[in-house]
Amino acid sequence: MIKSIDRPTLIASGFCVAILIAGTIYTLYTQGTASFIEPTYLLQQLKIAAFLGTVAAGMMVVILLGHIDLSVPWTIAASAMIATAVGGPWAIPVGLGVGLAVGLINGIGVAFLRVPSMIFTLGVNAVLRGLMVMLTGGFAPQSSATPIMSWLANGEPLSVPIGGGHTWGIANAVLMWALLSAALVFMLTRTPFGRYIYAAGNREAAAYLSGINTRLVLIGSFVICSLCASMAGLLIAGYTSKAFQAMGDAYLLPAIAAVVVGGTNILGGQGKYSGTVVGTILIVLLQSVLSVMQMPEAGRQIIYGVVIISMLLVYGRSKAIRG
C-alpha cells in the first residue's frame, strides 16, 4: 500500500538529482557535454548499482533487526570463487549454497549463541578469508566465470536500437536486482515474516513475548543477507568474468551506507525498501560523479563522508519515537 512516498526516499531521490545537476554543470563548463544525463551513462550506472543494490538488499533485512553482517565481503568472494572453481552447470547452485551455509552459521551464532552480530560476523568473515586463501594456496583453481554467470550479469535481452549501431540495453544484472527487490518488498510488506522482522527489530522482548519465534526470524534474516551477498558475488564474477580474492571488500561499507542513507534506522525496526534502492543509486552516482570530476582521492572521501553524515542528520530531525 503506497499511501505516501517515504520521506527519506524522497530526500535521497532529491539528492540523486542534485548530484546529477551538479555533475552536469561541471561537465558543461569543462567539456561542453552533458555526459551525466545521457541514457548510456545512466544505464551503465544502473548496472553497477545492481551489484551494490543486491548486497544492500540483504544487508537491509539484517539492519532492520538491529543487527549487522560484516561477513558480506568474503561471502561475496567465497561464493564466486567456489562457484567458478566448480564450474559448469553446478556453479550457480554451489555458489548460492555457500551463501546459505554462511547465513545459517551467522544466524545460529547470533540467535542461539547470543554472540553480538558485529563480532560473530566479523569472525566468520576472517574464517572465510582464511579458507579461501587455503583453497587458492596450493594450486590455482579455475577462476573464470561460466557463460551463464556472464550472461546473467552482462546479457541485454531487452535492448532498444537507437541507430548508428548503438543500443540502449538494460543488463540482466539490473533485471535480477529488480526481481530480488520485488521479492523482498513482497516479503517485508505482505508476509508475517516481514512483520516479524520489524517487530523483532523494534523490541525483541515484545516480539518474543507475543509468541513470535524470534530465533527463526534472526536465522532467516541472516540467511537472506548471505544469499543476497552470494548472488552479488556470482553477478560480479560474471561482470568481471573472473572471481578473485578481496573482490567483495569494496561492497561492505557502501552497502551499509546505502541502507542507512535510504532511511533505515541503524538500530533496527524502521525503514522502507524503496529507500535502500534510492540509497544505492545515490552512493553509486556520488562515487561515479566524483571520480569523473577528477577530484583528488582525499577530497572524494571527504565529500562522500560528509554527504552520508549530513543525510542522517536530516532524517534524525524527524524521528522522535523510540521505545
Binding site: R190, T191, P192, R195, Y196, Y198, A199, N202, R203, A205, A206, A207, Y208, L209, S210, G211, I212, N213, G269, Q270, I321, R322, G323
Partner: protein, 512 residues
C-alpha cells in the same frame, strides 16, 4: 513530639506529587538519635518517596526538613551524604568487577600525588569491614566473587565510610537468608549502640519486631502513627496499614454453587530458587488472583507458565492435558491457548514505534495468513472489531502506539491477546499506571471474558483489585503459595497478613 532539638532529623508538612499522583501529603515525621526507626506501609504508601526526599534524590514540593534542629535542603544525594545522611538502596550499588576496597572508596578514594593511594584504600577498607564484623573479607577480592550476604556487608561498610549520622536501609535484607539476616541485625544493633541513627524500611513484620525501637506507619502518602515497639499488636499494625477506604468500581462477582471444571492445573512447579512446589488450579470462567508482596515469585510463576523460563520443573495441564510449554510461541498455539499480558507494556507488551494495527494483530498473524500472505481484509476487520470492543481511542490505525495514553496502550496489549482466542489469560499487574476510568473498563472486561468461559490468572500489586475482581486469591511468599483465600475471606486484612506470612485469626467479612 516534633521537638527538633531532641531529634536528629525531622520533616514537617512535606508533600510530593508526581504528575497527578500524590505520593506524600503533609507528612510530619521525626527520627531520634541513636535508635532504629522502622517505616511500615503497603506498596505505594509513600515509603520510597519519603526516603528519596530525605536522601536528596527528589525534592519535596512543600514542607521543610531539619537536621539536628537546623533547617536544611538537600539538592542532590551528594549534599545529603556530606551532611551525614547516607542511604543503602534496595538494589545493591556495588560494581561487581571491582575489588571490595575499590567499591568501598568509590566516591572519594584516598589520593596521593593525585593518584589513588591503593595502600591507604586497602587499610580504610579493612577498618570499615572490621566495624561491620567482616574481618574475613579480603579487600582485594572482586565483589562478584562474594556471596550475596557478604556483598550486603560490603554495602554497609561502604555506607559507613561516608561517616553517616543517619543511615537509611531500604529493604536491605530482602535478598538475604534468615541466617544472614541475624548477622545483619547484630551489626545494626551494634551501630545503634555507637550512637548512629538508623531508618529501616521493610515489608517483613517479624524483622521489625526484632530490630526496631520505634515504628511509623504510612498509608496513601500519609503518616498515620508513630509508636514505640511493642505497644501495638500485629492486628493493629495491619489495620493501620490498610485503612478503611473502599471504592465500588468492580463488577459483581457471580455466585456459584457447583465447582467449576478445571481449565488450567499447575502441579508442583519449581524454578531455580525462586519458585518451589507451586500447585494451583484455575476453573473455566474463573478469575484467580495472585497476591503477596512484590518479588515473591509471582512474575516468575507467570513467566514459567508461559514458557519463558528455562529449567522449570513440575507439570502444567490445560483442559486436562499435560503440556510441556517450551516457548511463548508454543504457549499461544491453539493446542495450549495461553496468553500473557506482560508486566511492562512499553518494553514487553508493545513495539512502541509501530502502528496500532500492527501491534494488535502481531500475536494472531498466523491465523490471518492465507498461503504466504497476510489476508489484509480479514486482518483489518478483526482489528476494527477489537478496537471497538475495547473502546481503544486513537487517531489512525497506522499511528505509532507510542502516541496513545497508558490506558489505551494497555488495551492494545489486551486486544492483541484476545485476538489469539486464548483459553487462559495470565495478567501481570495490568492496571499499573493507568487512570481509574480505564481500570474500571478493564475490570469489567475481565469479568465479561470470564463469564464467556475464559480462565484468568491475575497478579496485582493492588490489594483492592484482588479483592474486587477475583473469585479466589492465592498469596505467594518466598516462591510458595502460603495461603488460598476464597469468597468472603478475601479481605485486605487477610491478604496483608498472609503477605507478611503472619497468621491473623480474623473471620470472614469483618472488613468488607
Amino acid at each position: 513530639m516534633l521537638d527538633s532539638t531532641t531529634h536528629l532529623l525531622s520533616l514537617s508538612g512535606v508533600s510530593k506529587r508526581y504528575g497527578g499522583v500524590r505520593a506524600l501529603t503533609g507528612v510530619n515525621f521525626a527520627c531520634g538519635r541513636g535508635s532504629i526507626h522502622a517505616v511500615l506501609g503497603e506498596n505505594g504508601a509513600g515509603k520510597s518517596t519519603l526516603i528519596k526526599i530525605i536522601s536528596g534524590v527528589v525534592q519535596p514540593d512543600e514542607g521543610t526538613i531539619a537536621l539536628e534542629g537546623r533547617p536544611i535542603v538537600f539538592p542532590t544525594p551528594q549534599s545529603a551524604n556530606a551532611a551525614g545522611v547516607v542511604c543503602i538502596f534496595q538494589e545493591l550499588s556495588l560494581m561487581p568487577d571491582l575489588s571490595v576496597a575499590d567499591n568501598i572508596s568509590i566516591a572519594s578514594p584516598p589520593k596521593r600525588f593525585g593518584l589513588i593511594d591503593k595502600r591507604a584504600q586497602r587499610r580504610r577498607a579493612e577498618q570499615l569491614l572490621a566495624r561491620v564484623g567482616c574481618e574475613d573479607i579480603n579487600p582485594q577480592s572482586l565483589v562478584k566473587n562474594l556471596p550475596l550476604s557478604r556483598r550486603q556487608m560490603v554495602e554497609i561498610a561502604k555506607a559507613l565510610g561516608r561517616k553517616p549520622k543517619l543511615l537509611i536501609l531500604d529493604e536491605a535484607t530482602s535478598a538475604l537468608t534468615a541466617a544472614d539476616v541475624q548477622r545483619v541485625y547484630g551489626i545494626l544493633h551494634a551501630l545503634r549502640d555507637e550512637g548512629l541513627s538508623l531508618l529501616y524500611i521493610s515489608h517483613r513484620m517479624h524483622e521489625i519486631e526484632e530490630l526496631a525501637d520505634t515504628c511509623s506507619v504510612f498509608r496513601n502518602g500519609q503518616h498515620i502513627e508513630t509508636f514505640p515497639k511493642g505497644t501495638r499488636t500485629d492486628e493493629q499494625v495491619v489495620q493501620m496499614m490498610i485503612g478503611r477506604e473502599w471504592r465500588n468500581v468492580y463488577p459483581p462477582k457471580p455466585v456459584r454453587n457447583a465447582p467449576l471444571p478445571v481449565e488450567l492445573e499447575v502441579r508442583d512447579l519449581g524454578w531455580e530458587d525462586r519458585l518451589a512446589g507451586i500447585s494451583l488450579r484455575v476453573g473455566k470462567g474463573e478469575i484467580v488472583g495472585l497476591g503477596g508482596l512484590d518479588g515473591q515469585g509471582q512474575r516468575e510463576l507467570l513467566l514459567a507458565m508461559f514458557g519463558v523460563l528455562r529449567g522449570v520443573t513440575g507439570t502444567i495441564a490445560v483442559d486436562g492435558v499435560a503440556k510441556t510449554i517450551h516457548s511463548p510461541a508454543h504457549a499461544k498455539s491453539p493446542s495450549v491457548g495461553l496468553a500473557l499480558i506482560p508486566e511492562d507494556r512499553k518494553t514487553e507488551g508493545l513495539c512502541l514505534p509501530m502502528g496500532v494495527a500492527d501491534n494488535i494483530s502481531m500475536a494472531a498473524l498466523d491465523s490471518m495468513t492465507r498461503g504466504l500472505v497476510v489476508d489484509r481484509a480479514l486482518e483489518s476487520r478483526k482489528i476494527d472489531e477489537m478496537a471497538k470492543k475495547l473502546k481503544i481511542k486513537f487517531g489512525k490505525l497506522s499511528d505509532a502506539v507510542a502516541t496513545l495514553s497508558g490506558g489505551n496502550q494497555q488495551k492494545v496489549v489486551i486486544a492483541k491477546w484476545l485476538l489469539t482466542g486464548a483459553r487462559v489469560i495470565l495478567l501481570n499487574d495490568p492496571t499499573r499506571g493507568i487512570d481509574v476510568g480505564t481500570k474500571q473498563e478493564i475490570y469489567q472486561l475481565l469479568r465479561d471474558l470470564a463469564d464467556a468461559g475464559t480462565s484468568i490468572l491475575l497478579y496485582s500489586t493492588d490489594y483492592d483489585e484482588l479483592i474486587g475482581c477475583c473469585d479466589r486469591v492465592l498469596i505467594l511468599y518466598g516462591g510458595r503459595v502460603v495461603r488460598e483465600l476464597e469468597g468472603g475471606d478475601i479481605t485486605e486484612a487477610n491478604i496483608v497478613a498472609s503477605s507478611l506470612n503472619i497468621s491473623l485469626t480474623e473471620k470472614a467479612g469483618a472488613h468488607a
